[in-house]
């Protein structure tokens, strides 16, 4: 329910400012994402500052598997696409499409986590842990948090999928949009992490 529910038509003319047209849900999610951006922004800034101030991280950075990282980037970008398609399906009322694309998004998210798991496994096998130096501390901290966020995203999408299967999702279509906002955010974080951690 938006603000319009309160507005008697007679005085609608005084509602001359734009904010009230933005749905509450969107304001809330944007607020949440903005604070998340500040958190990840904090991590990324610290990482960049350290990297800039202390040389010698290249050796450590050489041990991360940029090929798997690149594959994962593609996986995540594709999942953003399927998320958009799911939202589109909601808009045009394509019942099957919503289920398919939400399912695909979840599958891609899981794929990412599995690949990431293999990476972690290989790194631990080589003896690199969060205590092997600052680069590794940052690497595990940031990718780990990102992975957790992705996990949360998958859970959100799962709940949306359940709603789609039950058919309840049609009553409140913009939930898929809001879930999508979060999903894209997690994706964008990775777009920052990938070059910073794997490519420099």
């Amino acid at each position: 329910m938006g603000a319009s529910a309160h507005a008697p038509t007679a005085v609608a003319a005084v509602n001359d400012d734009a904010f009230k047209d933005i749905a509450r849900g969107r304001i809330a999610v944007w607020w949440f994402l903005a604070s998340e951006i500040m958190v990840f922004g904090g991590f990324i800034t610290c990482y960049v500052l350290f990297r800039y101030a202390h040389g010698g991280w290249e050796d450590a950075a050489r041990h991360v598997n940029w090929k798997l990282g690149a594959v994962n980037t593609v996986v995540l970008l594709t999942s953003s696409l399927t998320m958009i398609l799911a939202h589109h399906a909601v808009k045009v009322g394509d019942k099957q499409g919503v289920k398919t694309f939400l399912g695909l998004t979840i599958a891609l998210g899981l794929t990412f986590l599995v690949i990431k798991g293999f990476e972690y496994h290989a790194e631990f096998a080589e003896g690199f842990t969060p205590l092997s130096g600052l680069f590794w501390s940052f690497y595990f901290l940031m990718t780990g948090l990102h992975g957790l966020h992705l996990l949360v995203g998958i859970i959100i999408n799962l709940s949306l999928l359940v709603m789609a299967l039950r058919g309840t999702i049609w009553a409140c279509g913009d939930r898929v949009e809001l879930g999508g906002l979060y999903w894209h955010f997690v994706d964008v974080v990775w777009i920052f992490l990938f070059p910073l951690l794997y490519l420099t």
Binding site: A3, A10, V11, I27, W31, V39, F40
Partner: protein, 582 residues
């Protein structure tokens, strides 16, 4: 923190009148009940913070003597007490008081909404804060005691247990503070969404009561500044429990980074707790001067400017910390320039008094008393902001006195003013004015007698966070100052007794309050005291700005925001067509 998930988006049903005790008083989703819960929590925490202040002051005046009601204070304990005092006062008293209690109570009422935008989220933010307070209090009881690294928790002192001997105390401190951050981030979602989205027709942004503006700006400042410190808290916790070294130099970490993260948040944070205090003054002073707030838009722009500037001054806490000394000058300039927007606010409030018809109720006394004392705190900030002088004053009692002179007037005096003013609306009964004035006089006089001497001690070079100073010869002359400050503190604490009596007596025996005892204009006064569930019995429409007092052309000396104009007249935001039946 994953709270804004889609499942939270729909507003829960909150128009059910008959709920059980638990749902109406404990896990209530009504913003008014939640506001009172915040109030209660901050009152309780203020007792703890005040008790800590008592221990600090006693030890400083009469070092290593038996403190009545406690015993002897040990050096390690002393550090823990000041750490807890600062943490409690800022995060668990000032913020719940001026943001939690007043923001929650007043934002929906002032914009004419029936509740916050997300009532269940609102309930969750309170209970999250409650958990945070519980964790902080629990840290008193863990082995090796609570955190003792100062409320700023500078690394590496806070990063390795060996340096302080504190183990779980510091971890719990970090967790408690992080939970508190999460709580107020959730609260901010409601502040913003409600104030932007649930305004009744006619309530344009330029007709928002100032309190709503200040809460909004505070919430946004908080949201934009706290993220990096949450990241930092994570890293510090890992340093402590996993053995990483983000902030410890032995493996390439950097202690200065913590300070940057802390103060990037810390400076905006002091305005987060400060601005709502001003917001309260800006509601009260026009009412008891029967005059419009002078220069509404100028003030709003001034506060926005102060908010923006607050993000580029943080290094003034770090002038002598070992940052590149060339950075000091630009930060010094931005810091001193922040006096410009604050001068706008202060002067506007002063001019609002000019030519008014002033009535010195308890609320008004605390409002103008707070304004008068804040000026001291503000101008002494300029001393510290000047890098060359901060070389001498940094880390002394001058700083301590400066920030008590800003925090007490804005958060505590402002909060008390707000409480005397809105108590009738909150609880439906009037407070006792005589006790209120006694409370004001005692608080005002004693407060000044505590911290003026501490300015002098600071000028004499007295370092802060010092357990006792008798071993320094050059501080011998400053010792009597500490005795004065401590005696005054005892008076200050005793001065709260009339308040506590007044508060509880008025709750049960106070005169029943009518809807609008102060003849004020904002929407919360257009409903019952206390407002019913859902706040307003009929839909509200707003026709004018909130400070229409003493207009000679008007039929009476106040014009409630929702009172229809007598004849169609040009109005601030937009023309209202009065064709409807509402």
């Amino acid at each position: 923190m994953a709270t804004a998930t889609p499942s939270e988006i729909r507003v829960g049903a909150h128009h059910e009148p008959h709920l059980g005790f638990l749902r109406s008083y404990v896990f209530s989703v009504d913003h008014k009940v939640i506001a009172k819960q915040y109030l209660g929590l901050s009152l309780f925490m203020a007792l703890l913070g005040g008790a800590a202040a008592y221990l600090i002051r006693w030890q400083l005046a009469w070092p290593e003597t038996y403190v009545p009601g406690w015993g002897y204070v040990e050096p390690q304990q002393y550090n823990a007490i000041i750490t807890m005092h600062g943490t409690i006062m800022i995060f668990f008293v000032a913020m719940p008081f001026v943001l939690g209690a007043f923001g929650n109570f007043l934002i929906p009422l002032m914009v004419g909404a029936d509740d916050m935008a997300f009532p269940r989220l609102n309930m969750m933010s309170f209970w999250t804060l409650f958990v945070g307070s519980a964790v902080l209090i629990a840290s008193f009881f863990v082995p090796a005691g609570p955190a003792a690294g100062g409320w700023t928790a500078y690394a590496p002192l806070s990063a390795r247990p060996i340096y302080t001997g504190v183990t779980w105390g510091q971890n719990l401190w970090l967790i408690a503070v992080a939970i508190e951050f999460a709580s107020f981030l959730m609260g901010g979602i409601n502040f913003l969404t409600t104030a932007l989205n649930m305004r009744v027709p006619g309530m344009t942004l330029w007709r928002l009561p100032m309190l709503v503006w200040t809460e909004l700006i505070a919430a946004v400042l908080f949201m934009l500044s706290v993220g990096p410190l949450i990241a930092g808290a994570f890293m510090l916790l890992l340093d402590r429990i996993a053995g990483t070294s983000f902030f410890v130099p032995d493996k390439g970490g950097d202690p200065l980074l913590w300070q940057h993260l802390f103060w990037f948040f810390g400076h905006p944070e002091v305005y987060v707790v400060g601005l709502p205090g001003f917001g309260i003054m800006m509601e009260i002073i026009p009412v008891f001067s029967r005059k419009p707030l002078y220069g509404y838009k100028t003030i709003v722009w001034g506060m926005i400017a102060a908010g923006v500037l607050s993000f580029v001054v943080w290094a003034h806490h770090m002038f002598v910390s070992g940052i590149d000394p060339r950075l000091a000058t630009p930060f010094s300039i931005t810091t001193i320039l922040i006096s410009v927007p604050f001068a706008i606010i202060v002067f506007s409030l002063l001019v609002t008094l000019w030519g008014g018809k002033i009535e010195l109720t308890s609320a008004m006394l605390f409002a103008v008393g707070g304004l008068a004392t804040f000026i001291i705190g503000g101008v002494t900030g300029i001393f510290l902001g000047s890098a060359g002088l901060d070389v001498y004053l940094h880390g002394t009692y001058f700083v301590v006195a400066h920030f008590h002179y800003t925090l007490m007037p804005l958060a505590i005096f402002g909060g008390f003013a707000g409480l005397y003013f809105w108590f009738p609306k909150m609880f439906g009964r009037m407070m006792n004015e005589t006790l209120g004035r006694i409370h004001f006089l005692a608080t005002f006089i004693c407060f000044n007698c505590v911290f003026i001497p501490l300015f002098l001690a600071g000028v004499a070079g007295n370092p802060r966070r010092i357990y006792e100073m008798s071993s320094y010869d050059f501080l011998k002359p400053a010792q009597p100052l500490h005795v004065i400050a401590t005696i005054a503190t005892l008076g200050l604490l005793a001065g709260q007794i009339p308040f506590i009596i007044n508060f509880f007596m008025s709750l049960v025996r106070g005169r029943k309050a009518e809807r609008n005892p102060w003849h004020a204009n904002t929407l919360e006064w257009c409903t019952d005291s206390p407002p019913p569930h859902g706040n307003f019995s009929q839909p509200m429409v707003v026709y004018r700005d909130p400070y229409e007092y003493g207009n000679p052309d008007a039929p009476k000396d106040w014009m409630a925001q929702n009172e229809p104009p007598a004849a169609p007249a040009p109005l601030g935001g937009g023309q209202i067509r009065r064709t409807g039946t509402r």
